[in-house]
């Protein structure tokens, strides 16, 4: 510190520090305020239905009885299913881009994928509703419906109205939506590996499959799990891409091709018509969603904290 500034400290300095501190605290308050809002707003429903709110699958605005089991299970199924579809593809895409693809193609393709990660989810939802669902109903659901015995295991698993609006198609649309994001971050992870690691593995005589499977992926394992959790968090909380195509029924999903709902899609669909206990129940759904996503995101961030993305 110079002598001059010690004698005449800049009067703006404390103001600047104070404002910056206040801005940082605003972020904290936002999250705190979110929890408080969800708890107060959802309280009438939580106190009325108690623990049964989580286990009951009745959702009846006429009799004012609400249970979140349907949306909760719908949310978990779609998120897990979409992750199961997107994860292997995303790993393959990033491996392809960093290991096999000629450099001249890899750069533009990577950029394109990163750009696609920014496309608003409503576009994916519209594509699902107008293009994918009708196609799926025509070419997949109808043949299955007519050829399978409805009493068999597969017949039960794949039963449903053949309109393409169901849990399975919603999961596929979700998977396509999180795919660019996960591929882009996986690619960054692979690129962060020092080239010596790869060269050393090749030097030992590994095939490129062994290099990727036994050296590169274990090297960034922690980061990859973190990214998977981030993708999972995204799939759990996604609203628009799902609301368009999941069919929005509140019953407990009993088959893969049955219409269902997620926490976010139920809130989006019914919030503006709701009042009283219905509104409180929707906010309580928000609280459940918050608790699930917060846990997932916290784990993801803890895993990623050593290598920030």
């Amino acid at each position: 510190m110079s002598l001059q500034s010690a004698r005449h400290p800049d009067p703006v300095d404390p103001i600047f520090r104070g404002l910056a501190f206040a801005a940082a605290t605003t972020l904290l308050l936002t999250l705190g305020g979110l929890i408080v809002a969800l708890m107060i707003g959802g309280w009438p429903a939580i106190s009325k239905f108690g623990f049964g709110f989580l286990t009951s699958s009745t959702w009846n605005p006429v009799t004012e009885v609400y249970g979140a089991a349907g949306p909760i299970v719908g949310t978990l199924i779609t998120a897990v299913l979409s992750l199961a579809i997107a994860l292997p593809i995303a790993v393959c895409v990033s491996v392809f881009l960093t290991q096999y693809c000629p450099k001249a193609i890899a750069q533009p393709v990577s950029t394109a994928i990163e750009l696609l990660a920014g496309i608003p989810s409503i576009v994916y939802g519209m594509w699902g509703l107008f293009v994918f669902a009708p196609w799926f109903a025509r070419t997949v659901q109808l043949p299955i419906l007519t050829s399978l015995d409805p009493e068999s295991f597969w017949g039960k698993l794949l039963a449903g109205v053949p309109n393409g609006a169901n849990i399975f198609t919603a999961s596929i649309v979700l998977a396509i939506m999180i795919l660019p994001y996960m591929s882009a971050v996986f690619r960054e992870l692979f690129r962060s590996i020092p080239p010596q690691v790869r060269e050393a593995a090749f030097g030992l005589g590994c095939t490129s499959y062994e290099v990727v499977g036994s050296v590169l992926i274990p090297y960034v394992k922690k980061g990859m799990i973190g990214v998977v959790m981030l993708g999972f968090g995204r799939a759990l909380g996604e609203t628009m891409a799902v609301t368009f195509i999941i069919g929005n029924s509140h019953r407990f999903p009993d088959s893969l091709f049955a219409s269902g709902s997620t926490l976010a899609s139920t809130i989006a669909n019914e919030f503006n018509e709701a009042s009283g206990v219905h509104l409180a129940s929707l906010i309580a759904l928000g609280l459940v969603l918050f608790l699930i996503t917060f846990t997932v995101l916290a784990i993801a961030r803890a895993l990623l904290s050593s290598q920030r993305y």
């Binding site: 910056a20 972020l27 393959c92 096999y100 920014g118 608003p120 509703l129 490129s208």
Partner: protein, 279 residues
């Protein structure tokens, strides 16, 4: 020999699977872009920008929605840039290494990926209910909250990249921390911070869920942000869900507009960031 053969086979299968997966992924994404283009372009004409959202089965455009989106995103970005730049600066320059700084950074990262519909509920509870109704301000606040963590994060990252010699140079000249940050650090990091702002803008311009119960929608051209306010995503959602073909066409045209805007802003942001790297 058998083992070598097996390894070779496994390797080749892996390469084929990876290439195939990459092709499938790219094909799916290309398919979506193709549908968006073919279905969207048909609805783009002069009326799209000069007429307001119509009644079912009558001609119209999306002027009110476009204006609404621009206004709300503009206000949201003002909120996000002020809070985000200050918070990011605090994390990078002042208190980032304190325990409180670690908590703030962690929570910012959580907010960064929190479901946007929850932000909508937050604003509904703390803004819409006390103010007594849906409004453009509420929508702008919701979008601002979504963009703030992005700006905070990029600001912190960019400031951390600035060499300490810059800070020492400021101190050696007797400048206060405020002057050092404002005249040296922020200036040096300008392009990167602008990129962060653009990325935040790109993220919120397509957000639908948080607007559903904050800004609601408005069928007419309005500049009064204390009333329910139109937005492009807010118009697309009901139009796409409706059975009317004219509305569906408008929804696709609107989706195309948003996508082009988001892509354009993202490309601009990247271009600015790359320009910086090359210097």
């Amino acid at each position: 020999m058998d083992r070598a053969l097996r390894r070779k086979f496994a390797n080749q299968a892996f390469v084929v699977i990876c290439t195939g997966a990459a092709l499938v992924a790219l094909a799916a994404l290309a398919l979506i872009m193709f549908s968006l283009l073919t279905k969207g372009v048909g609805g783009v004409d002069l009326m799209l920008f000069t007429a307001d959202t119509p009644a079912p089965d009558s001609p119209g455009g999306l002027r009110n929605a476009i204006v609404g989106s621009i206004l709300m995103c503009g206000v949201a970005m003002m909120i996000a840039v002020v809070i985000g730049v200050l918070a990011g600066t605090w994390l990078a320059e002042i208190g980032g290494n304190t325990p409180y700084g670690h908590v703030v950074r962690f929570l910012n990262d959580v907010l960064l990926s929190a479901p946007s519909i929850l932000i909508g509920l937050f604003v509904y509870w703390w803004v819409v209910v006390p103010m007594g109704g849906f409004s453009g301000w509420a929508g702008a606040i919701a979008l601002g909250i979504l963009a703030t963590p992005i700006v905070t994060r990029t600001t912190e990252d960019i400031l951390n990249l600035q060499p300490n010699a810059l800070r020492e140079a400021g101190m050696a000249l007797g400048a206060s921390q405020w002057v050092t940050v404002r005249s040296i650090i922020w200036k040096a990091a300008g392009a990167g911070m602008l990129t962060g702002g653009l990325l935040g803008f790109a993220r919120i311009s397509g957000e639908t869920a948080p607007l559903l119960f904050t800004a609601l929608n408005n069928q007419f051209l309005s500049f009064d942000m204390s009333k329910p306010f139109a937005s492009l995503p807010g118009a697309i959602y009901p139009f796409a869900m409706s059975p009317y073909e004219t509305w569906n066409t408008l929804a696709w045209a609107g989706a195309l507009l948003i996508t082009l805007a988001v892509l354009g802003v993202n490309i601009l942001g990247r271009w600015l960031a790359r320009d910086k790297d090359h210097k």
